[in-house]
Symmetry: C3
Subunit: 213 residues, 3 copies
């Protein structure tokens, strides 16, 4: 079977993680990368930067899939904006799940979301669109993750948690069972979230506390 042609949008570090995962799944072949004008012609792990997001019209929606490979630290705005642009032009987004990730057959993963190496999504959980479920992240049973959320490396989201849209959950942090995190919240690396966070904000530490940022 022919592989599906995939255009990556964003040629930075996160793009490399995505490429490593995409080549593990064999469903897609990378047709090229889009980035800023100054980087056109460069290569990322052997794949060419072939244009900018002004060139989207060159890739007919029937022939290509797209994946947003821009990273997301804190603010989800950039990834969300591109997602909405792609949707408004009827582009199809790829959903990528690493061959070494484990996604329960009782769970769902939204379009445009990437699940990187060793990440786990346990039973009865739902992951929204355009999320990054990063390497080794562990989302337990009965969770609900919104859209444009980045669950970073080695994060643990325990059973029954809800993470609303556009959150950034920092590396190696942990959410205890059954809590909710307000939309657009930022959780610092290594934080322990031991209660529901109703108010959006930046939270760090063990137990986590809100800081100005």
């Amino acid at each position: 079977m022919d592989k599906k042609k995939l255009i990556l949008i964003g040629g930075g570090g996160h793009c490399k993680s995505c490429i490593d995962t995409i080549v593990s799944v064999k469903e897609f072949e990378i047709a090229g990368i889009l980035d800023i004008k100054e980087k056109v012609g460069e290569s990322i792990l052997g794949f060419k930067i072939i244009g900018t997001d002004e060139d989207l019209h060159r890739f007919p929606a029937n022939d290509y899939y797209f994946l947003i490979t821009i990273g997301q630290i804190q603010n989800a705005g950039l990834r969300k904006g591109i997602y909405e642009k792609l949707k408004s032009t009827k582009c199809r987004l790829a959903t990528i799940i690493s061959a070494s990730a484990i996604v329960s057959k009782y769970s769902t993963v939204g379009e445009g979301t990437v699940v990187l190496h060793g990440a786990k999504i346990n039973a009865a959980s739902n992951i929204g669109e355009n999320c990054i479920i990063n390497t080794n992240a562990n989302i337990e049973h009965d969770c609900k993750i919104g859209r444009h959320v980045h669950i970073s490396t080695n994060v643990v989201v325990n059973g029954g948690c809800v993470v609303y849209d556009e959150c950034f959950i920092g590396s190696n942090s942990v959410l205890i069972n059954g809590i909710t995190v307000a939309a657009s919240s930022v959780i610092g690396a290594g934080a322990v979230v031991n209660r529901t966070l109703i108010e959006p904000g930046v939270y760090v530490g063990n137990p986590c506390r809100k800081i100005e940022k």
Copy 2:
């Protein structure tokens, strides 16, 4: 070969994680779930709640295996009580190890214990009966884990540690090399246990300190 018939006791969230693991191993088929009377007739991921623990006698010990799928946060009493009831009636408990877990051939896992997705048990370690070794937990070499212990998600138990009976080791906490944790202790999520804990209690933080609870 015919699969072994398995009865699950407890139909909550942890049961879902267990089901996801059981269907990965192909050794057992789930014959039904027992829970409280009010839930009889409901389904968990497509498996029926067919009775309560008053119905154990309906499942002859020669024909069925049992797994306790009640979760364990803090107190081990409930899981321990059911375990003792099963043993007193000569029931056989299943030992379940996820297809994606890694258990050293130089180690042992007690009956009634479940080792969930991606968990690791390194060489020369012994895990007791009726434990939960949760998703991504990592038990290193030369450890001894007692009975009725819950090693929660993403916990690290480093080499040469001893965890006595009925402990709860919270999500993403870490025990440094060669320490011992007293029976019935509770370690909070994200705690760093950097010394032997002789006195049972609730310990949280980095480094961990005892709190009243």
Copy 3:
């Protein structure tokens, strides 16, 4: 194909983790272990301690590979000294990568380095010689790890980090994106390294702070 004969140097706890990994890869057969004189004749997981490092000359460099299986907590001196002795006598060091580890094809791993179960090395990262990349450690994209470094269990080294020679990065600690850790630094278990550490030292806590030691 005949397996390559491998001599292990060091018969303690870390040696057991190494054996568990070596038997997973099938490329090498363990020909014996070297340790102190008092332990000669003992067995580690069924493999004999057959001599001390005074006996290296008995194992011709053309016929044998070597792996240093001494652990490394804090000080790298012992492992480094043996490494230099082996190199000065033209011995070949094995590079061991667990069957369950994931090492990107876009990355490199130096000789004498062991990558244990479930560890991950993402794209465009380089790992130096004689390192321990311990169970479940996660080294993200674009990292550079020096020589004689121990990245302990469940550590996260996020994208673009540099860890200089002879560091010990403690269990379950996390380095945020793009930071550098000075040579010979010691990072405590569970520490959150949220900035570049220019000065060598011992760092613990969240966020990490330097302590006297």
